[in-house]
């Protein structure tokens, strides 16, 4: 491996409003290396990549390519400098063939009047000769997600790039497909292309990358050769943060009831998760952790009948919970708070009162089915008071509230049906610190009152501070449970990402790994 520096980042800072996304970050990429970036969500990895790709401009600091100082003002300019970026979300035209998708930019810039399909097809075949046997004539929508990802990579390769950025490319891939991708990455690196590889999965980093840089809270913490360190070292530097928020006191041993509210057994979905079994006890707050895409939300939505083709058994307070739709679930007192508040958690344009009553308008309606405005506002007022909701007028639209108060409206909506069990998916995302600890207090109070509480969160400190027990999901299965003293960030991260070693060891005989 040559040790020549192809990309040098020097003291780059970038802030968005009050948030310091990057703070005097240095970074170095060498010719022909595969360089992993690790860090929690919000650590600054994506911001740095967006700066390298010209999507954002740094507030201060310099970028050097091959020793030459450069200004990268747009993605198009980055492309000219030989930087290819494969984004996490796929941006392809689904109704168009693979070949046309790959060469779309060239088609756009072309001066010839007619399309030369056979030439496109031939060139696409050349590109795929080194990648994967995808037929360039297929429509993109007929490809699997992983093959679409490969088309994105092929698209970046045709730009003749010297630096290739891959942002969590394996998130949508199966193990075998990921191995194919790694093989390709290695052959690209061998031909002198430098690769920046963003991933949360330690195994992938340690099996396939040359060096790893860890980011935390907008700072570049450390860069090491993977041969010099262990996955645990990386995880430790990723989460080396003190929990500084105050959480309500946890369940005491005396409060443990041992009474099961929800029992889930061998719960599986066609592709998202399999053989999930767990119990929720009265009085506790159960946390669910895992990487994005591991299947956390899918399990909750599956239980609530919101999506998925599920099999398995679920009991609510000893009675089988069979739901054909979410309506059945609500009627049994099981509700789900969406992680996407603005998308499907609240009706932004509707009033606070009609949002709160939305789960069961019947409750505030007369026998003839006419909504009683008095009952409706009364319900919203009393729940609002209970949750310390701050609002101008109960008839104002929810969009007039702050993020934290919008979330309280969403929670009030859940409480309006006197639920027995609540799934809360990212309940404090985009919520300010004050409202956040209020929401935590509300959840603890509900648990004390006997309501089953399940919190799904990407924020480890929140899970550790709030929950009595945390289930960790990895790739659709429960990889472990943490409680009491075992409930540490290191432990949970380990269960969420590293424990994969065992699985991979079992697949070694397939011979896909070097």
């Amino acid at each position: 491996m040559s040790s020549q520096t192809v990309l040098q980042i020097s003291k780059i800072s970038k802030s968005f409003g009050a948030t310091q996304a990057l703070n005097e970050v240095d970074f170095e990429l060498r010719t022909g290396e595969i360089h992993a970036l690790a860090g929690e969500n919000g650590a600054g990895k994506s911001t740095l990549m967006n700066i390298i790709d010209g999507i954002h401009q740094p507030d201060s600091g310099d970028i050097y390519i091959n020793g030459e100082k450069v200004m990268i003002s747009s993605p198009a300019e980055a492309q000219k400098m030989g930087i290819g970026f494969v984004h996490q979300e796929i941006a392809l035209c689904p109704d168009i063939t693979v070949a046309e998708n790959i060469f779309m930019a060239q088609t756009n810039a072309s001066t010839s009047f007619l399309m030369n399909y056979s030439d496109l097809d031939r060139r696409a075949r050349d590109v795929f000769a080194q990648l994967s046997p995808i037929d360039p004539g297929t429509l993109v929508k007929h490809l699997s997600i992983s093959n679409q990802q490969l088309v994105e990579i092929a698209k970046a390769l045709t730009l003749d790039c010297r630096i290739l950025i891959l942002d969590e490319p394996t998130a949508a891939l199966t193990e075998t497909e990921a191995q194919v991708l790694f093989r390709i990455m290695k052959s690209l690196a061998a031909s002198g292309i430098s690769i920046i590889y963003i991933s949360h999965r330690m195994v992938e980093i340690f099996d396939n990358c040359d060096r790893v840089s860890v980011f935390r809270d907008g700072e570049h913490i450390v860069t090491n050769n993977v041969s010099d360190i262990t996955p645990d070292d990386v995880v430790n530097s990723m989460v080396g943060r003190v929990i500084d928020e105050l959480y309500p006191p946890k369940q005491t041993t005396a409060e443990q009831s041992g009474e099961v509210i929800l029992k889930v057994e061998n719960f599986s979905e066609k592709t998202r998760f399999r053989d999930v079994s767990f119990e929720v006890y009265r009085g506790e707050i159960l946390g669910i952790s895992g990487l994005i895409g591991a299947g956390r939300s899918e399990i909750a939505k599956g239980i609530c009948g919101l999506e998925g083709d599920v099999t398995g058994d679920v009991w609510l307070e000893g009675q089988p919970l069979t739901v054909s739709s979410y309506r059945d679930c609500i009627d049994r007192g099981v509700v789900y708070l969406s992680e996407d508040r603005k998308g499907d958690g609240v009706f932004l344009d509707l009033s606070i009162a009609s949002n709160v009553s939305a789960l069961s308008v019947e409750q505030v309606s007369t026998r003839l089915g006419i909504v009683d405005a008095g009952l409706e506002t009364g319900q919203a007022r009393s729940l609002g008071e209970r949750l310390n909701l701050k609002y101008g007028d109960i008839a104002h639209p929810v969009s007039s509230l702050s993020g934290g108060n919008q979330q309280k409206v969403a929670i009030a909506k859940m409480l309006s049906v006197n639920p027995r069990l609540i799934f809360l998916d990212e309940p404090t995302r985009g919520v300010d610190v004050g409202a956040k600890s209020e929401i935590h207090r509300i959840l603890r109070d509900l648990a004390r009152d006997g309501v089953g509480i399940i919190v799904i969160s990407s924020e480890l400190p929140e899970l550790i501070g709030l929950c009595d027990r945390v289930l960790v999901i990895r790739e659709g299965i429960i990889s472990g449970e943490a409680s009491g003293e075992t409930m540490t960030e290191e432990n949970i991260m380990h269960l969420a990402s590293i424990a994969q070693h065992d699985v991979i060891a079992g697949q070694a005989e397939q011979g896909t790994r070097p």
């Binding site: 941006a91 035209c93 168009i96 779309m104 756009n108 072309s110 399309m115 007929h142 397939q510």
Partner: protein
């Protein structure tokens, strides 16, 4: 390592071997093939059911019935592919007829009057395109508004009465009424427009951008395509073709009734969608859309020949649209 390589090689060989058969399968799977088969089946059944069906006169009448509308179907299909839709086509066609007719009655040369009318329709397209791409309104709402506005303009110009244009010169009427040999001129125009645009849409780099934009505007924009311009021009093209259609109608009927073309937009959209265009954009072919128009026309004509009450016809046409779209949805789901 070895096992992976073997699998890869196998798959590669698989592609080469299945080259021809996959091509055949692709043709068999195409929307057009299915439509042609259905139309042929209808022909066979109808030629037995009615001796009149397979006559030159009936064929000619059927073709005339959808020829001019077919030109508008071309514009609509392109607009649908770009991700847009135009509800104003019926009104804009009539606007062209009425404006050109009114200008002619006021002493303007009919050719010049027609050119002005077509330009005015292009202007309507520009106004709609502006609302969509600059102001950011939805095609549906914008074209709904212009549907009403253009219809209102027709009524205003004519004061609600049909314009009689019997005095149009013969050489102008030829556009709509004349024949080259046994083939009506209208049909020749129709075939030329269809063949030209079908070719352009399949082969020209310019029109491929319409597909990219409609399929995923963001992906297209990331490839440097000026998607707003593509949408704007598709809108203008559709309205301009409506202008052309309106002028041909005027020459054919030698009159300009302000209530002409009511409900035409539904027929035109139905034809395009039956032919494989998607309301989500990104897919559609001119050939398919024309086959859709042919199918609707053959069905209408068959029902008339079979003495089915005219009141049943809309119900049946609507059901055909629903069946075609459901079938397509089902196929797509299966493929995924």
């Amino acid at each position: 390592m070895t096992s992976t390589e073997t699998t890869l090689n196998n798959e590669t060989n698989g592609f080469q071997n299945s080259g021809l058969s996959s091509k055949l399968r692709r043709i068999a799977g195409m929307r057009e093939t299915g439509l042609i088969l259905i139309i042929l089946a209808l022909f066979v059944v109808m030629s037995f059911a009615s001796p009149y069906f397979l006559t030159w006169v009936n064929m000619r009448a059927m073709t005339m019935a959808f020829a001019v509308e077919g030109i508008i179907v071309v514009g609509m299909t392109i607009l649908l592919i770009s991700g847009g839709i135009d509800l104003s086509v019926g009104s804009v066609v009539t606007f062209a007829m009425v404006l050109a007719g009114w200008l002619f009655l006021n002493g303007v040369d009919p050719w010049l009057a027609s050119a002005i009318a077509i330009a005015a329709c292009a202007g309507i397209g520009m106004a709609m395109g502006y609302c969509v791409t600059r102001i950011g309104l939805h095609h549906f709402i914008v074209s709904l508004a212009f549907m009403v506005i253009a219809r209102g303009a027709c009524l205003l110009i004519t004061q609600g009465r049909p314009l009689g244009l019997y005095t149009l010169p013969e050489e102008f009427k030829f556009i709509g009424q004349g024949s080259l040999g046994v083939i009506p001129f209208v049909i020749i125009v129709f075939v030329v427009v269809v063949v030209a645009f079908d070719f352009l849409l399949r082969r020209s780099t310019v029109f491929r951008k319409v597909f990219y934009t409609g399929s995923n505007e963001k992906a297209a924009a990331y490839s440097g395509i000026r998607t707003k311009k593509v949408i704007f021009l598709s809108t203008v093209l559709c309205s301009t073709l409506c202008g052309v259609g309106g002028v041909i109608y005027m020459a054919r009927f030698a009159s300009a009734p302000p209530t002409f073309g009511l409900g035409m937009e539904l027929n035109v959209i139905a034809a395009a969608v039956i032919g494989g265009a998607s309301l989500q954009g990104g897919t559609g072919t001119i050939f398919g859309a024309i086959l859709g128009a042919v199918l609707l026309s053959v069905v209408t004509s068959s029902l008339a020949l079979l003495d089915v009450s005219v009141y049943w016809q809309d119900i049946i046409r609507g059901s055909i649209l629903l069946a075609a779209v459901s079938f397509d949805h089902y196929l797509n789901k299966k493929k995924n």
